[in-house]
Symmetry: C3
Subunit: 220 residues, 3 copies
């Protein structure tokens, strides 16, 4: 039951992030094969990293063909429907928030099941959520959007924390997964719609051309 839930969350998150990888790949003029490679990387880097760190090798995304199939499907869909994908850009942003929620929850669950302590399970849930987007942006030489977007990594951590704390309060796993996912999505919703954000420490002096002037995070 819990395994089936994890698989659905994982594949759903993979699809959404693979879409974001394909959109970034097309923006940077990669050919169709490069699009598929970046789809796979964005869709699976978070989960693969988590699995390697908890010693679950080969990682699910390598051992199970379904992850690659979902990633390739997402990449092909975006490639052949690109102008349409551009038009639904804002929907992609919403999808991305859904995917982040799925991954954060599934990642924390899996880490708990492997016996990690709650604090690190929450951090691994966050890493599962943000890992794919980080690799996607690094591969197209952008500062990762997940480090810059408002409440992004923090939303993932909040969702994962709910999953981790729930067993201590005897909340059943499915309810915890739903609550964690909703919290993660709500934080991103507030950030996108209402501009919620965390404080920044302004550098003491202007950094000339060395800072990020003229560059912006890749669209999700």
């Amino acid at each position: 039951m819990l395994t089936a839930l994890s698989l659905v969350l994982d594949l759903g998150g993979t699809f959404v992030f693979a879409v974001s990888g394909a959109v970034a790949a097309i923006k940077y003029r990669l050919d169709i094969f490069g699009v598929l490679v970046l789809s796979f990387a964005a869709g699976n880097a978070g989960g693969i990293t988590r699995d390697v760190l908890i010693g679950a090798v080969p990682p699910a995304a390598i051992a199970d063909w379904k992850y690659a199939a979902v990633s390739i499907l997402a990449g092909l869909l975006v490639f052949f429907a690109y102008p349409a994908a551009e038009r639904v850009r804002d929907d992609v942003l919403w999808c991305d928030a859904v995917g982040l929620s799925f991954f954060a929850v599934a990642g924390a669950q899996k880490a708990l099941l492997r016996g990690l302590n709650p604090m690190m399970a929450a951090l691994l849930g966050m890493l599962t959520g943000i890992g794919g987007g980080m690799l996607r942006d690094v591969l197209v030489t952008q500062i990762p959007m997940v480090l810059r977007a408002d409440l992004y990594a923090m939303a993932a951590l909040a969702g994962a924390a709910v999953v981790v704390v729930a067993p201590m309060l005897h909340v059943p796993p499915v309810a915890a997964a739903i609550a964690g996912g909703v919290l993660c999505f709500a934080l991103r919703f507030g950030a996108i719609r209402y501009g919620w954000h965390l404080p920044t420490a302004r550098p003491a002096r202007v950094q000339g051309g060395t800072a990020d002037s003229g560059r912006d995070g890749a669209a999700p």
Copy 2:
């Protein structure tokens, strides 16, 4: 026999990619030690990633001093013969195609031997082939050439696929390795010499300065 073949392919690929790492390092003005570090990274990142993903730790490139020795040798050769290396730039491109063939074939074989299913073994063969070049380019902040160059990742996947399909057709491993390597090389040959390429989805609107204008993939 198969192990010896794998070792020769692996070390040959390592040498060639270490050369490409050293050339990139010198282009970006790293000192001799930075050149050697990038040689090792470019020569071994693909194989190390593959080994970590299939659970073969410590990875061959870490456990066996021969990989580091070959990488350092390649880095020193390039460093002390740099102007000559510049002149044989096109030969480097050919060497790179040979190295890609070696790595794709050896990577797929090793993944098969560890019991991965054929589809994922082929993908891991591709990853072995392109991983070193990806890390090399990310470290000098370029969009990886392996994602942009014509038929690059695809050639690696094609070569790996031959190795993976062969056992089903009762083709002996050595013949499969040769056939896979030749196919991979032939695809890159066609791409370099005749400009074979895959289609690109043109972005719907011009992306101003955010796209890759003014940057180009690092030379291999």
Copy 3:
């Protein structure tokens, strides 16, 4: 005893590199959560990579909450004291040299304990030292300072080599750790204070805008 020494060195190195990650994150205008993520990445990427490569999963930095706590503490300190942190910039550079020494020594010791051969244990010590800084700079899209700064990776390798060679000469581990750390620090001291550096191979021809003109390594 050796384990306690390792832990102190590891946590000390983690703190210092987490500080460097936080400084880089603030320079690139990440919000407070991005600052903490980059603190953790810079403080722990080297050790995590080492542990994954030697098969010690889950890595210490994931299994033990102390590493995350130290990283978060360092990130918060820098965030709330940023202008002060800017003013002590040069001290940060010295701290970084101390952290590099700690990590190189602790990394080599841990690799030896896991039974790796001396050459690879020294290389893994170096990787432990430079891994965090490499990820930090890649995430803010800079060519890693550890590949460009004078005698940086080389100092780490020299310190690690002392730790590796010492057992062959029957030098006790604590003395070897101190000697290795002092050598590593001394090399960086000479590089920072007196400009010691290794030779560079100048590219045969000017590379136009493709080289690193106008970019510089992130401050440590």
